[in-house]
């Protein structure tokens, strides 16, 4: 199956890239743009077929490598192949 993982910055962590995107959108004439936060999107193909064990694997991937838990949160969806 495929895991679709989103890594986002925790609330309160300064996001200079997000801020730059917000500024750029403003400059392009998009009014009414509030806070912009950016993050990462990662797709991982898994050999697992069982959802529960896949979830465990993905959790562990996120905590160990994909996200830095000091500043980032993660969320994911699993999709059957």
């Amino acid at each position: 199956m495929k895991a679709r993982i989103k890594i986002t910055l925790k609330e309160g962590v300064l996001d200079p890239q997000g801020k730059a995107i917000a500024n750029a959108l403003g400059a392009l004439g998009f009014d009414g743009v509030g806070d912009v936060r950016q993050g990462k999107y990662i797709e991982v193909e898994l050999k697992e077929s069982e959802r529960a064990s896949a979830e465990k694997t993905v959790e562990s991937m996120c905590k160990q490598l994909l996200a830095n838990m000091v500043i980032e949160n993660y969320s994911y969806e699993l999709e059957d192949a």
């Binding site: 962590v13 300064l14 200079p16 490598l65 830095n68 000091v70 500043i71």
Partner: protein, 229 residues
């Protein structure tokens, strides 16, 4: 004194720091490949600057899981001094040897230039040859040097006197104007609790030779040799 420089795929300041170490120690440090399981017997371990694994995902994130890092962490915890410069600092935070994280520079740009640093304490193996509050000129060269930690952690670091260097002006006053990356409280480098692990963004090895335009980095290597020989 024996020193080991750990080399990761993508390290690129490994030779530079080895040159500075050799000049100070009188012998070459061991260059240790990341795939090794053990660091050879060393009085000092250096994690050099560069772009380990291309800085892909997050700076230092993948190198932190190299086989050698398990041994580095073990030895650091037993008291072997560890110096992490730039990408080495990233690694120290990714492995948890130092708290906090280094985020993208506030300018969003890579910055390579000399900056002024205030030496916050001179009672560690890394800084004995400096004066306390001395202002030194050291280059930075990074994209992700913006030190971030929560307020509580920052308070603790300051309370425990663990800030090693701050970006400052010529008079030694830490200032946002002198800060090249937007780091919190103008932090350029920090120690672990015991003062035996130092992570810093500036590159002392880049100004340790008069031909390169300055020698303010040299006392750090002299300090280490003095303390560890």
């Amino acid at each position: 004194m024996k020193a080991s420089v750990i080399v990761f795929p993508g390290s690129n300041c490994d030779r530079d720091v080895a040159v500075s170490l050799e000049a100070a120690m009188g012998e070459k440090p061991a260059m240790v490949w990341h795939g090794e399981a053990d660091v050879p017997a060393s009085d000092l371990i250096v994690l050099p600057g560069g772009f380990s694994y291309g800085d892909y995902l997050r700076s230092g994130a993948m190198a932190a899981h190299s086989p050698i890092m398990r041994d580095v962490v073990k030895r650091a915890k037993k008291g072997t001094p560890v110096l992490g410069i730039c990408n080495g600092f990233h690694l120290l935070t990714e492995t948890g040897l130092l708290p906090g994280v280094l985020m993208r520079n506030a300018s969003l740009k890579f910055v390579c230039k000399d900056v002024l640093l205030k030496v916050m304490r001179n009672d560690t193996d890394f800084t004995r040859s400096y004066d306390e509050d001395e202002v030194i000129r050291i280059p930075v060269a990074h994209h992700d040097g913006n030190y971030f930690a929560d307020g509580e952690t920052l308070d603790r670091l300051e309370g425990e006197n663990r800030v090693a260097f701050r970006y400052c002006d010529a008079s030694g006053t830490p200032s946002d104007d002198a800060n090249p990356n937007g780091s919190q409280r103008n932090i350029a480098g920090i120690y672990n609790e015991a003062g035996t692990v130092l992570g810093l963004m500036p590159h002392p090895e880049r100004l340790a030779d008069p031909a390169l335009g300055g020698t303010d980095g040299k006392p750090m290597f002299a300090s280490l040799v003095g303390a560890l020989h």
